[in-house]
């Protein structure tokens, strides 16, 4: 019975959604804002990657908010999983296999490097802070899998996280102080396609990369924590 009702609701929802969907002009030239981004982007921002310039500059405020959401998710999870007295269980963990251990030790620095590359080159190539951070966090996930006796310090991750967040806000405030606009791209645009170009994008992406990396690693670390 309930399933039938649910299906009816879904059908009605689908029926409704077809109306706006059929009106959206797919496949035509992008209108208005999107067109502006595509055509004016490079001259306005100096970033080769349009997506990045939209994410960090035009809609940088949203990105700040999204970073905050991730921060909240990490903090919220930590607060719910918080244990008044941390007691690591004495249960001896099963060793992971030699292949996994060796492979992870080998891959870990490379993964970090790749992650760093992704967020440092956010304004030039596809990718950016979020992606880079996620890659870095995946490196930590591997460490958690392979070297089970290692404990990642959540305190240190938290410090990195906070510093990165503060950097983002600070960059915004510097923009406010120098140019009168919060998150203003106060650095020079530089030459297109160079590493040091596109104003504040690299700075912010580095901050985001650190932040996302440490947050995701922190989340995994929190979930891995054992008690008796």
């Amino acid at each position: 019975m309930r399933k039938i009702i649910a299906l009816i609701f879904l059908a009605i929802l689908l029926w409704g959604i077809t109306k706006p969907v059929s009106r959206i002009p797919f496949g035509t030239n992008k209108i208005k804002v999107a067109e502006h981004y595509i055509t004016k982007d490079i001259t306005e921002t100096g970033a080769a990657n349009v997506v990045t310039s939209v994410v960090v500059l035009y809609r940088g405020f949203d990105t700040l908010g999204e970073v905050t959401i991730l921060f909240i998710a990490a903090i919220g999870l930590a607060s719910i999983l918080y244990l008044p007295r941390k007691k690591v269980s004495d249960e001896v963990l099963e060793e992971s296999s030699l292949i996994l251990r060796t492979g992870c030790r080998f891959l870990f620095p490379l993964i970090l490097l790749f992650g760093a590359y992704i967020f440092v080159h956010g304004h030039l190539t596809p990718g950016g802070g979020f992606q880079g951070g996620a890659i870095i966090a995946s490196g930590f996930a591997l460490i958690f899998l392979s070297c089970r006796e290692r404990v990642v310090s959540t305190v240190k991750l938290g410090v990195v996280e906070s510093l990165a967040g503060m950097t983002f806000v600070a960059v915004g405030l510097i923009g406010l102080a120098t140019g009168g606009y919060f998150l203003l791209s106060f650095l020079p645009k530089g030459t297109l396609n160079m590493l040091f170009s596109a104003g504040i994008i690299p700075v912010i992406y580095v901050a985001i990369g650190f932040k996302v990396g440490s947050e995701l690693a922190g989340i995994i670390g929190n979930l891995m924590e054992r008690t008796q």
Partner: protein, 616 residues
């Protein structure tokens, strides 16, 4: 001294009293009494003043205070009863808990009643009305125990009333864009009768609830009997009369006597329906009062019945009836307050007000007995008390208006009144004094004093009814009634004059005659009660004279007819509402699946309404 200052003193003084109570209880008591006396003096000095002044801007509306003879009459009653009950409280409340709070609320309620009668617009009227309502709620609840249920009942009904008032007030505003009473009154004459009727019915609900008009009375018996006695005196004496004031304001000031007479024809007119309600209010509660065994409950039901007389007089709407109603309001304020205080004094000394267990207190508290007697005579309407004059006026109105049914009901109610008034007198003061009350003493001075004042008022207005009637006549004329030929002894009129001097002389003469007859008769032997009871043989120890089931034959006759059906109905309604509410609450099952379903349901309904039915 302006009206604003008076209210500032009244409210500010209340809080000052509260704060002072934290320092010293004695100072607090002194300040409370002083404050009420000062207010009384100021109000008395306002006599004859008229005027209106705006005192505050609230949400873009001018709130104004105005004074005229009508409001002065109510205000002086408020101030008098306020000070007397505060004095009465001094010893009655001594040693009870949270006295600072008690005095604060008592003074706030008094101040808000002053605010009500001095309000020049509907908003400030409502504001003070609500302050009075919640203040009263807190005071009724003060005694704990069963008082809690009484308080809750009171406040719920009161909010229902406020709701009706708000609707009435705003529908007037929607038509006339003003809240000022005088402004509305000057423009309302062109309104259609249907509209006026709807507004009047809304207001009647509000004021009927406060006035305890049947079928809106059910809060009163519980509230009056459970409240602390000094406050019962205020409650019964003046607070419920705010409803009377509301009726006068809405019927004769707002709508006006002319427009009122066009609302319906004959029996189906507004004021006749109100009169019929008032008649029912006299009839049924009187006999319910007769059945009660709690002295304060008797008085509470009696208050409902007496309010019926007041409304009956006012509703008939002739100048004589209006005068009778208004005078009866004053009288009821005096004798009912006196009775509540007397019962309070008895309760203070004996610790009970159960009519079946008391008895013979007259030997210990003769003064209180005298006071109760005067109050009871006033209540009955015995000549030379004020109750006689007002009832005379009301009967006369009914007879002149050719309303035999109403006149009969009013008379019938008086017979019942005699019965229960005697029941109170007898069961408390007569008969054998139970062992446990042997040590009872007379009431203290602070209780005697207010009672004396009230009894003086009762007799004074009974002998010289012209004093209040002159004021009432001024009010009547200002509302458009014909002027009455009032003199100090009563009313001269071509359809039969009222002259208390004649009555006074007649009674004096008959007393002398009776006294002479008794003097001439052989002297009787005074026999002690217990001696008499046992006819000279063995006298049983302990209590052997009981006065339970006082009017057994009468009870048997009336019992099937005097059930408070309305209360039963309201209680059932309240129960049904609670069940319904509980059912509503069960919609929140606690199951996540259905919650999500609710969200989707809302969306689906919106989509279906638009796409399926093309609404919007």
């Amino acid at each position: 001294m302006s009206l604003e200052m008076l209210l500032v003193i009244a409210f500010g003084g209340a809080f000052l009293t509260y704060l002072l109570g934290k320092l010293s209880p004695v100072l607090r008591d002194i300040l409370a009494v002083l404050l009420t006396l000062v207010i009384l003096a100021i109000v008395a000095l306002f006599y004859g003043r008229t005027g209106e002044s705006s005192f505050m801007n609230f949400l873009g509306f001018n709130l104004s205070l105005r004074i005229n003879t009508l409001s002065w009459l109510f205000a002086i009653a408020v101030a008098t009863l306020g000070s007397l009950s505060t004095i009465f409280s001094l010893s009655y409340m001594k040693g009870k808990e949270r006295l600072d709070f008690y005095y604060l609320m008592m003074l706030i309620v008094n101040a808000s009643m002053l605010g009500i009668v001095f309000s020049g617009d509907l908003i400030s009227f409502y504001v003070f009305w609500e302050i009075m309502s919640w203040g009263t709620f807190l005071l009724i609840s003060y005694n704990r125990g069963p008082a809690l249920a009484a308080g809750l009942k009171y406040i719920v009904m009161s909010i229902v009333g406020s709701t009706a008032y708000l609707l009435g007030m705003f529908s007037l505003y929607a038509s006339y864009s003003t809240f000022n009473i005088a402004d509305i009154a000057s423009r309302i004459s062109t309104a259609s009768p249907g509209y006026l009727l709807s507004v009047l019915v809304l207001f009647s609900i509000t004021f009927g609830i406060k006035n305890a008009l049947v079928p809106l009375h059910t809060w009163l018996p519980d509230a009056h009997s459970e409240a602390p006695s000094p406050f019962s005196a205020v409650l019964s004496g003046i607070l419920i009369k705010m409803g009377t004031y509301g009726f006068v304001i809405s019927m004769y000031v707002l709508v006006g006597i002319k427009a009122l007479s066009h609302l319906g024809h004959g029996i189906l007119s507004f004021h006749f329906m109100l009169a019929i309600l008032a008649a029912v209010t006299i009839l049924v509660p009187t006999f319910i009062a007769l059945m009660q065994d709690d002295a304060k409950r008797v008085l509470a039901w009696s208050s409902i019945a007496q309010v019926g007389y007041i409304i009956l007089g006012i509703a008939i709407g002739t100048s004589l009836g209006f005068a009778g109603g208004m005078f009866h309001f004053l009288n009821h304020a005096s004798f009912k307050a006196l009775l509540f205080m007397a019962i309070g004094a008895v309760e203070y000394r004996t610790g009970t007000r159960d009519l079946n267990s008391l008895g013979g207190i007259i030997k210990k508290m003769p003064f209180t007995f005298m006071m109760t007697l005067i109050g009871a005579l006033g209540l009955i309407g015995f000549p030379l008390t004020n109750g006689f004059v007002s009832k005379w006026l009301i009967y006369k109105t009914l007879i002149l208006g050719k309303d035999p049914f109403l006149a009969f009901v009013a008379l019938f109610g008086t017979w019942g009144t005699i019965l229960y008034a005697y029941k109170i007198l007898h069961n408390i003061f007569m008969g054998q004094l139970p062992e446990e009350y042997k040590g009872v003493e007379e009431a203290p001075f602070s209780m005697k004093f207010p009672m004396v004042i009230l009894s003086i008022i009762i007799i004074l207005f009974g002998i010289l009814p012209g004093i209040p009637l002159k004021v009432i006549n001024v009010i009547g004329v200002s509302l458009g009634f014909k002027s009455l030929a009032v003199n100090i002894w009563g009313i001269a009129s071509d359809t039969g004059a009222l002259n208390t001097i004649n009555i006074f002389s007649a009674i004096l003469v008959s007393w002398i005659v009776v006294w002479l007859i008794f003097k001439a008769a052989p002297t009787s032997l005074r026999v002690e009660q217990d001696n008499n009871y046992a006819a000279g043989s063995y006298v049983p120890t302990g209590r052997y004279l009981y006065t339970a089931n006082f009017y057994a034959p009468v009870y048997r006759i009336i019992k099937p007819y005097v059930i408070d059906v309305v209360d039963i109905f309201y209680m059932a309604l309240a129960g049904a509402v609670r069940t319904l509410c509980d059912w509503t609450r069960r919609m929140y099952t606690g199951e996540l699946g259905s919650y999500v379903m609710y969200i989707m349901l809302f969306l689906a309904v919106l989509i279906t309404m638009r796409l399926g039915f093309n609404i919007w």
